[in-house]
């Protein structure tokens, strides 16, 4: 129930990877036939990734994950366009984007963080207004990892094209859950992460549209056409390719299945628990994302109590050493104080069943009842 954090590797994916540990273990950059088998495996995986998102194999660059893909897209473009020092992003991006932007600001670049509405949709008018002469890149995520809101990328793409600005999207959460096609979305770069779609951890890819000039952020033996050096993680890449292939084959079925579970979970919670709030957009929403706030109770406590009942979820509020912080995403959605500390993200996976949903609902009922009984607020 925490599939947005990570997913189990599909057994078919593990099977696909196994030969590349001890048998076909060649270095894909070696000249001998041993290395060539690995190189061929990489080519197959590259095609699997490309096919899934409507790209060409030569537009796919493998990385160590979604975080590195985001870094590469932004830092591979922004600092290398002299005179164009400005980029635009949204306030609800993943830290992989936001912290990269913060780093660029330290280096003297300028970043505009466009706000979102209370459903988490990026304010497109604001975005357009923030375009400058020297804007080189727009980076807006496809779907948000916390509240599941899907962004209007097609509209943003039009703005980017009109002003001749590169457009990157972090599609780490959307791939495998909704259709993702680089041409329909109109993006120049797109980040994917393997472990979010039943592939292994530590692998990802950046799609880079032909004609987009990008510089590397890791230097070395010029693997991946010089864009990403380092001996290729062959087994990981093979698993990633297989996972994406499976995901795209199953997309329609999985998406329907998850949507059903999602909607059933949301309506059960609303039917049985009072003082709740759905965070994120009611319909422009990932099929596997449920993000609900419960009044009078706090996130980490719910998380712990649910964990005791075998339900793993996540929360947008974490009690750290300094403060009980609401996440930057929930804050950006301007959720009321009463609700902001009691948020839960329940993210479904294709292997979940309606029985799992029943179990979660029961666990939630018990958890909320118990915690509200302890809460000084519930009585007031």
């Amino acid at each position: 129930m925490d599939h947005s954090a990570t997913t189990p590797v599909d057994p078919l994916v593990v099977d696909a990877m196994l030969p590349f540990f001890s048998e076909t273990f060649g270095n894909a950059s070696s000249l001998h036939s041993f290395g060539t088998e690995s190189a061929e495996a990489l080519s197959r995986a590259r095609k699997q990734v490309a096919d899934t998102i409507g790209a060409l194999p030569e537009e796919i660059f493998f990385t160590s994950g979604g975080t590195e893909s985001d870094n590469l897209a932004i830092r591979g473009v922004v600092p290398f366009n002299a005179g164009k020092k400005h980029m635009i992003t949204s306030v609800i991006e993943h830290p992989a984007v936001l912290n990269t932007c913060a780093f660029l600001e330290e280096l003297g670049h300028e970043v505009t963080y466009v706000p979102v509405d209370t459903d988490g949709v990026v304010d497109v008018d604001e975005l357009e207004k923030s375009v400058r002469e020297n804007t080189v890149l727009i980076s807006v995520m496809h779907a948000n990892n916390e509240v599941g809101t899907i962004q209007p990328l097609e509209i943003i793409s039009d703005i980017a094209k009109e002003h001749n600005i590169y457009f990157h999207t972090d599609a780490v959460q959307s791939v495998g859950k909704i259709p993702v096609n680089v041409n329909d979305l109109g993006v120049d770069m797109l980040s994917i992460s393997s472990h979010k779609i039943h592939g292994p951890k530590g692998v990802g890819a950046l799609y880079v549209r032909k004609g987009t000039t990008i510089s590397p952020i890791v230097f070395g033996g010029n693997h991946e056409k010089g864009i990403r050096s380092g001996t290729e993680n062959v087994s990981g890449i093979v698993g990633f390719g297989k996972a994406l292939e499976l995901a795209s084959e199953r997309l329609e079925e999985d998406s329907l299945h998850m949507t059903r579970m999602r909607d059933s979970l949301i309506s059960s919670v609303f039917d049985t628990i009072s003082d709740v709030r759905l965070n994120g957009h009611p319909s422009l929403r990932l099929p596997n994302n449920v993000n609900i706030s419960f009044k009078y109770v706090e996130g980490e406590s719910m998380l712990m109590m649910l964990d005791m009942q075998g339900v793993a979820v996540s929360t947008g509020s974490a009690c750290s050493s300094k403060s009980l912080n609401a996440s930057h995403v929930l804050s950006a959605l301007k959720i009321e104080d009463d609700f902001i500390h009691g948020s839960l993200r329940i993210s479904l996976g294709r292997e979940n069943t309606m029985d799992d949903i029943d179990h979660v609902v029961n666990a939630l009922l018990e958890t909320i009842a118990k915690l509200r009984a302890m809460s000084p607020l519930a009585d007031k």
Partner: protein, 124 residues
């Protein structure tokens, strides 16, 4: 999650002394929904002994488990003994708290002391 000691988890999942004391002799409450923690402790005092101590807490695992721990530690103690309880006593009782989770560890004790002061003020 193993971050927390067994004792913390125990205290969190089966807390003692949950509730408001209706005719309390002293009440202490700290926090707000903005901060995200509210701890309410109410006490009943008889013959200078904390006969009853109850808490209601909105907050994280540490807020709840320290509240419960404080209520147990204080209950049955003399007023001056309860006032002498330290943060360390609470943490020891819970077999330690994980690093970086010390922010709210003192709140429950603060609320208890507020309640005791409330009692003392009322009986001056």
């Amino acid at each position: 999650m193993v971050l927390y000691s067994k004792k913390v988890i125990e205290e969190f999942s089966s807390p003692a002394n949950v509730g408001f004391i209706e005719d309390a002799d002293g009440v202490g409450e700290i926090g707000s929904t903005v901060d995200g923690d509210i701890i309410n402790i109410s006490i009943k005092v008889k013959d200078n002994i904390l006969e009853d101590v109850k808490f209601k807490t909105f907050g994280c695992v540490v807020a709840i488990s320290t509240s419960s721990a404080v209520s147990r530690l204080a209950k049955g103690k003399r007023v001056d003994e309860a006032m002498a309880l330290t943060n360390e006593d609470v943490i020891n009782y819970l077999d330690g708290l994980p690093e970086g989770k010390d922010r709210c560890s003192g709140f429950a004790l603060d609320a208890l002391k507020m309640a005791i002061e409330d009692y003392i003020n009322k009986n001056k």
